[in-house]
Each structure stands twice: as C-alpha cells, then as structure tokens.
C-alpha cells in the first residue's frame, strides 16, 4: 500500500472592508438509513408512495403505541461509525427532543442527545492531488425523521404527509474543522461516497436522503490556530446555523453569503447573534428562522419508552470484519497496484460501480491504458447521453478486448477509437468486428512500402523539400496513413519514411 501523505489546503480568506477574515465551519449531516422499514415501526420507507400510506399507528403517535427498534438501522449506524474510524459505544440511549410542529405527531423526536451510539472519528476530505483536510467527527446518533408539509397546494392550508415520519436518520456531526465553502461541499461529497461504499445510505440529495445543516462563523487570521491548540471556542466568532440544505451548490453559496453577512455586521461595530437561518436559493441569501428561535428550548429527557441500547463487542467485530474496502484504501491500492496517478485513482474510485468496472478491464492488462480508456473515452461517451457506468452499453470484457487489440498491435490507437464507437453503438465482439470490417493495422512492410513508393514517385518536389527540412517527413507519414485508410502501423510507416528519404 502507498503511504498517502497530504498537505492541508489553505483556508479561504475573505477580504472585508477593514480586515481579512477566515471561515470556520462545522457540519451536521442527516443521512437516511437505507432500511426497508422505519426506525421504530414496521411501515415502509419507500419514497414517493401515496401520502400517509407508509404510516403505522406508532408513527402517527396513536395513544398506547410503543416503539420497537429496527436492529438493521442500529447495524447501519455502527457500520457508518466503523467506516469513519470512529469509536462505537456499546451502550447508548434515546432521548426525547420536544417541540410542536404539524409534521411531528408525537410532539417530540426520539434522538440520542446524551449518549450517542458513535463517538469520535474522522474523514479525509480530498481537495486536489496531495491536498486533503482531515475533518474530525464528533459523534453520530440515530434519530427519527419528521414528516413532510406541503404549502403550495392550497392558499390557506398546509398539507401534511407522514410517510417520512419515523424513518431512521443518522446525524453525523463534525467538529469545526472545515475552512471554506469548497471544503464544505467536498466534505459532503466524501461523506456521501463513504456512505455509498458502506451501503448505509443511498446519498440521494434530491429526495432529501442526505441533508446538511451548516454552522458558520468568521474570525481573524490566527484565531483558528489558537482554537486548535486549546479547543477553546472563545477564540472563534459567534456561529449561525444554516438549516436543511440538499445541494452542494447551495451549501457553497449559503456559506459564502453568510460569512460576508457576518463580516459586515462585525466591521460595522455590531455583534453576530447566534441563531438558526434558512438559505433562500432564489434570492441567494440567508434569513433568520424566528419560529425556530422561539421553540429552541427542547427540554430533552430520556425516552421512557425505550431501554438503553446495549450491543455486544462481538457483534461490532463481526460488522467490522465485513466492511467493504473504503474509498481511501481503494484509491491507494489503485495507485500502488496499477500505477495510476492520484487523480485517475480518485476518478475511478468515486463510485464502487466504476471502480469494479475498471478492475475487470484492468485484470491482466495494462492498468494505465485501462484507466485512460475508461476515463477519457467511456466516461466521455456516457456523459454525452447522461448515462452512468451501470448503463454502459460496452461491457468490461468488450473494452478489454479493444485494449488487447491495441496492445497486440492489431489496430492503431486511432482505429481503436472508431472500433470503440462501433462497439458502443452496435455491440459485438471487438476482435470479430476488426476481422470482418478489415480494420486490422497493416504491419506488412511490403504493403506500406508500395504505398510510400507511389507517393514519393508522385511528389518529387516534396521529396526535395523534405531532404532540406526533415520536419516535412510528417507529410509523407500522413499520406501513407491516408492511402492505407488509417490502418498502417504508424511506427512502421515512420521508420520507412525516414529510411526512404535518407534522413
């Protein structure tokens, strides 16, 4: 394995009217557990079902109903913790977070405030080859999701759907180690990648299966280093929390706006008030969520309906033994085993499907060549049609076949691209297509010589010029390639041209 050492990225600096400012960002990501049933009931988690059809009496908070925990959801939280190299707490407990909202029929959310199931871990957030930020994870806890309110179906009423009520969420809380909008988005990308590798959350942000709350504050350069030395928050500015964002672009825009807003307030002599804010993508600004402030007193207390959650070390060990290879390890292995650059290895390990495709193509072949063909040709071609790797009409075996033909000098690189297009659009066995359509490279020097001699005989003036200026030899190579329909082996042609012109 390669030892991947990284430099931390430079923090983002924003120039205010008076001073330079730095950003300090912490994230709380809510990731929906990829379970079939809800956290405490047997109702389905299926997205897009008829309103209020995936609701059990437990979810609707009917009197006398008691929650029973879904063990699979607990397992996924443990898996996620292990994937983030975090400490697993064998004993955790559930608390009630009390507030009133129409999409929360219980009047409280069951969460884990005091004793979360997962403790401290870390994520390496890649920014560029050789540059990455290590972000500490503070905790992960399990909690219930709320329902959904729809406000635009009626002018005076809100419509409530409880299908999402009680679905299991993992709240993944980071330390304030993120230093800019781009890092914040990269953090979510990396976290989502790890969750997908683990299979604990599908990471679908559009459906709201992954949502981020972002805590933003600003400070003068130098202050953050003091905080890191002492872990004393008084060195940092007052933070505001931007709630519920489900797009990488909005996360970056919201952080940028919020930082500039805070800088303006401080430079004008004011004070930032700690509060919850909402990002409005249409206006490109954040605004205060006053109602949230009012209800901020959640009066947490241990949930009397649920005993503490005790799990066995042997179970945790078993889950750990079955963890898949994670992105950082896979990337390092691709670099070590296949000689890929960090960039290529990152691209190929972004999704497990692509990584698997690559490994199938690369097996017993030149890894770099396989990586180039997948990244440059296949990904480019798929992107044109907005397809992903799982929809590729070219199988790993077919792409491998094309690469074999290049490696064996049967076809030239240029012909290979034509062949790739045929395989992509029509399918078929590459070797057979080459055979049937006469795409084989001409390595037979006799045929190349004949073509070259003909060209030399027809262009005496060019021959004289080339003898004076050897760069013009390229023109002859081009002519031969043309005459042979691109099938001549370029290396052989080059050698012959040099020889015939006496260069």
């Amino acid at each position: 394995m390669l030892d991947l050492t990284h430099e931390p990225p430079k923090p983002k600096v924003i120039a205010g009217a008076k001073h330079d400012w730095e950003l300090v960002i912490g994230m709380e990501v809510h990731a929906q557990v990829a379970s079939r049933a809800k956290l405490f009931s047997g109702a389905s988690t299926q997205f897009g079902a008829e309103p209020n059809s995936n609701v059990a009496f437990v979810d609707a908070a009917m009197p006398g109903m008691l929650p029973v925990i879904n063990e699979f959801c607990v397992e996924q939280a443990v898996r996620t913790g292990l994937g983030l190299k975090a400490k697993i707490h064998l004993k955790s407990a559930f608390d009630r977070k009390n507030y009133f909202y129409p999409d929360l029929p219980q009047g409280y959310q069951i969460s884990q405030l005091y004793e979360p199931i997962v403790g401290e871990g870390e994520i390496l957030v890649d920014m560029a080859p050789g540059i990455a930020r290590k972000v500490r994870i503070e905790r992960i806890h399990i909690e219930q999701d709320a329902g959904k309110s729809i406000h635009d179906m009626d002018p005076t009423m809100s419509f409530v759907d409880l299908n999402r009520t009680g679905v299991a969420l993992m709240e993944i809380v980071s330390r304030p180690d993120i230093r800019g909008p781009e890092e914040a988005a990269a953090y979510v990308v990396k976290l989502r990648q790890i969750l997908r590798y683990l299979g604990t959350c599908d990471g679908n942000m559009q459906n709201g299966n992954l949502r981020a709350d972002v805590n933003v504050s600003v400070c003068r350069p130098g202050q953050y280093e003091k905080y890191q030395e002492t872990q004393d928050f008084s060195h940092l500015g007052t933070r505001c929390e931007i709630k519920n964002m489900n797009s990488m672009r909005f996360i970056q825009q919201a952080i940028d706006f919020e930082a500039r807003r805070q800088i303006r307030i401080i430079e004008e002599g004011g004070e930032v008030v700690q509060e919850t804010r909402l990002y409005d993508p249409e206006k490109g600004e954040t605004r205060s969520m006053r109602s949230k402030e009012e209800a901020h007193d959640y009066r947490y207390f241990p949930c009397p309906d649920l005993l503490p959650l005790e799990i066995e070390q042997s179970w945790v060990d078993e889950i750990a033994a079955n963890l898949p290879e994670l992105p950082d390890e896979k990337k390092a292995r691709f670099m070590a085993d296949y000689g890929l650059t960090e960039y290529d290895a990152s691209v190929l390990t972004a999704e497990t499907d692509a990584a698997g495709f690559f490994e199938e193509v690369a097996r017993g072949r030149d890894g770099k060549l396989a990586a180039n063909w997948i990244i440059n040709e296949l990904f480019g071609r798929l992107k044109k049609e907005d397809h992903d790797i799982t929809q590729s009409p070219v199988s790993p075996a077919q792409l491998g076949g094309i690469i074999d033909l290049i490696a064996a000098d049967v076809i030239s690189g240029k012909i290979a691209k034509d062949l790739f297009e045929i395989v992509y659009t029509e399918g078929g066995d590459p070797a057979q297509i080459v055979e049937e359509r006469g795409m084989k490279q001409v390595t037979d020097t006799g045929a190349i010589e004949a073509a070259l001699d003909e060209i030399i005989a027809a262009n005496p003036a060019q021959v004289e010029k080339a003898k004076v200026n050897p760069k013009l030899a390229g023109w002859f190579v081009g002519q031969v390639m043309k005459a042979t329909g691109g099938k001549a082996n370029p290396k052989a042609v080059n050698a012959l041209v040099q020889d015939r012109l006496g260069l």
């Binding site: 008829e50 309103p51 995936n54 609707a60 063990e71 959801c73 759907d161």
Partner: protein
C-alpha cells in the same frame, strides 16, 4: 429551583397549554410545591451509583427490518379534523 410567573408562562407556552395571566401565580406555586417534594431526593447520596432505568433486567427489544405495517391511509386520517387528497390539512404553517 424556584419557578416564578415568567417561567410558568414559558412552560405553558412550550407545552401549548393556555393559562390565563391571573392563574400564573397559583400555577407557579403548584410547580414549586411539586419540585420541592421531588427535590427531597437530592438528599440521598448517589455518588457512583448508575441510574436505574428498568426494574427488570431486560434487553431492549429489537425488530427485523421488514415491512409489516402501513397501507391504511383511511385509518390514519380517520381522526383528522380535516383531510384532503390523502393529506392531513392544517392551517397554513410556512417557514
């Protein structure tokens, strides 16, 4: 801990229970009586004693990840004062 009128009013508001202003004084008094009674527990030395959460040595009951419930929109909505097109309809709450 002592509960004054303002705290009583805040607790009432958080619990969404309407309490007329002239009742707050009495309510605060009642809170204090209850809390005072419970605070007697503070006299017991529990240093190093783990809080007891259950009187029987039980393990938290678990469930398999199987869909065994739901599919009863009509029943879920049957107590709702207003329901339309499968949704609960409530007075507009917009953030």
């Amino acid at each position: 801990m002592s509960i004054d009128k303002e705290t009583a009013a805040k607790v009432a508001r958080l619990a969404r229970i309407r309490v007329e202003p002239d009742r707050l004084e009495t309510l605060a008094g009642e809170f204090n009586a209850v809390l005072g009674f419970i605070e007697q527990l503070g006299e017991v030395d529990v240093e190093g004693v783990e809080p007891m959460v259950s009187v029987t040595p039980m393990r938290l009951k678990r469930r398999a990840d199987e869909v065994t419930d739901g599919g009863m929109q009509d029943k879920i909505l049957s107590n709702a004062p207003d329901a339309r097109e499968g949704f609960f309809a409530v007075p507009k709450v917009v953030e």
